[in-house]
Symmetry: C2
Subunit: 336 residues, 2 copies
């Protein structure tokens, strides 16, 4: 298991190459060192080479090289429950003294009683309810600050690390590799758009304007002459399942040529991507590694992968077997 520094990866690919004088180094470098030399890695590299080779019948102009990524379970872990749900839980606990009614109302009751089973079943809709109740009534700037503070102090129950360290090293390399080949990388997540934007740039190199997610409504107002945007306790949009292609169409206005997910919530995004003309690439991360990460699919309450697995097999989409295809899961493994 050999994880080069990310700097090495950046040097090895794309435009930067022309500035190097040591040609041997360029040839030797592998942009995807955490990926096993198997079918998944080969499929990725083949696709990228096909769409970037000038003169190739499959050549795609850089402006159309749009790649969309789910976040939970695709770019970072999502067990034992969505990390944003854990953030919401911490917020709800903080705010509980001001909300006695939460003692009997679900999913708040489950939060305050530590009833993880009920919470896990609440899914994206339950998450949205907790978000509305715990995240509204403050300005967007204030909200971003609470997320920033939480990421600094909260620790994952199993790994005892900040949540933004539980990102997938192979996916970081993949994002870098695609960008070095002229792709614009987007997050298209069921998670909250303003939650994701707090860490997406640092964690994944994805700037705020390329982060799409679920949202609550907001309102512009002047407070003592100062303009603020206030978060309202009302769902605006759930960016999951059928919502993903809808959001892609609204935010990007172009159809991706590559899409990456890990659950049935990503199926429609992959279908929409695959149905475009010309070369297409669809990939699902299959969680098969209970030892290094988690193993789950068809029966999971989080990140259920059932229909997607069948459709991937039928259509020949790439299914990553995490245990077999990833030499490294998390960046910190190498540093241990």
């Amino acid at each position: 298991m050999n994880v080069p520094m990310r700097l090495t990866v950046r040097i090895s690919v794309g435009l930067v190459v022309v500035h190097l004088t040591g040609a041997a180094m360029v040839c030797a470098a592998d942009p995807l060192p955490s990926w096993d030399e198997g079918a998944s890695k080969k499929a990725i590299v083949d696709f990228v080479e096909r769409v970037t080779a000038k003169g190739s019948p499959d050549y795609v102009a850089p402006a159309d090289r749009i790649a969309t990524f789910d976040n939970d379970g695709c770019l970072w872990s999502e067990q034992p429950v969505y990390f944003q749900l854990l953030f919401a839980i911490d917020r709800v606990k903080q705010l509980a003294p001001q909300h006695p009614e939460w003692k009997t109302e679900q999913p708040f009751k489950a939060v305050l009683e530590g009833d993880k089973k009920t919470l896990a079943k609440a899914g994206m809709q339950g998450l949205a309810k907790l978000i509305m109740a715990s995240h509204a009534g403050m300005t967007t700037d204030e909200f971003a600050q609470t997320v920033r503070d939480w990421l600094k102090t909260a620790r994952h129950p199993r790994f005892k690390r900040p949540y933004d360290e539980l990102v997938f090293q192979p996916m970081l390399e993949l994002l870098d590799y695609l960008r070095a080949n002229g792709f614009k990388t987007y997050i298209v997540s069921g998670g909250g758009i303003e939650f994701l934007r707090v860490f997406a740039e640092e964690a994944y190199g994805i700037p705020p304007e390329q982060v799409i997610g679920s949202s609550i409504k907001t309102k512009f107002e002047l407070r003592d002459g100062q303009p603020v945007i206030v978060r309202l306790p009302e769902i605006d949009f759930i960016d999951d399942k059928e919502g993903k292609p809808v959001a892609i169409n609204k935010f990007i206005g172009r159809r991706p040529i590559a899409a990456f997910g890990n659950s049935d919530g990503d199926l429609q995004m992959l279908q929409w991507t695959a149905a475009g003309e010309g070369p297409r690439f669809c990939l699902l991360v299959h969680h098969t590694d209970a030892e290094r990460e988690w193993a789950y699919d068809r029966d999971s309450h989080i990140g259920k992968l059932d229909k997607g697995l069948d459709e991937a097999k039928r259509r020949g989409w790439t299914v990553v077997d995490m245990k077999r295809d990833w030499n490294v899961v998390y960046p910190f493994e190498e540093r241990n």
Copy 2:
């Protein structure tokens, strides 16, 4: 009145300069040749030089150089009524035989009777109603095609030219100038997002993912196994007034450092932009040229500029006097 080709403008600024050998040419070229050498042009150039000069206390990193532009009345004309309203009128006339109820229902009645006065008063809300009725029930691809077809055939009643020729030459130069200086240019318009995206890239060099506008709801579905996105007869979002900063926050997730508008519908976008920390630039195009374009402000049903004009004076925002500040209005003037 001297309008150089846009190619010349592109050569004169930014990164491309390093490839030139003829230094004299670079020094002589003016990135804003259609702008009169007055206070407005000076304010623009001063701002751009301040935020791009490394080591300057006002230096802004390229990623934060976000500039947002209104479209109607700011990048192209909006008289005698919003051009999208004229598109909707043509669509409603085409579809009228299938909708006998439109004969008595406003604003459809006004459309079918050619009652321009009533239509002009309908404003953005009326436009939205016409859009819903005339644009829904088709896929996004089909809709884009109807806009494309219309732009090819429809002619402006006064200038007898395609609508996308009624763009403002000085604003095209300004967009190019900002982009050459590392700015990311966005449209933030009350007009329809999917209407704008059909021509924004060709007309303004602004790609679909940097176009924000009003929207109707859409739905993902499979038709004979083929995924499509269908436009629904329901308003999703009106990107006007207080909606503009809300949409900027949702789509971009960063506050612009420069904003450009022409009406009270842009006021909140300019307030939101101006209230950020560090150097800021706000500009309003004041329509003062009845001869070459139109003259209107406080009492206009289209593009009313009243509160915005007062606030611009109070805050020292740049107000472009079209008649005085623009040597050329439309690109075609020079070619005549």
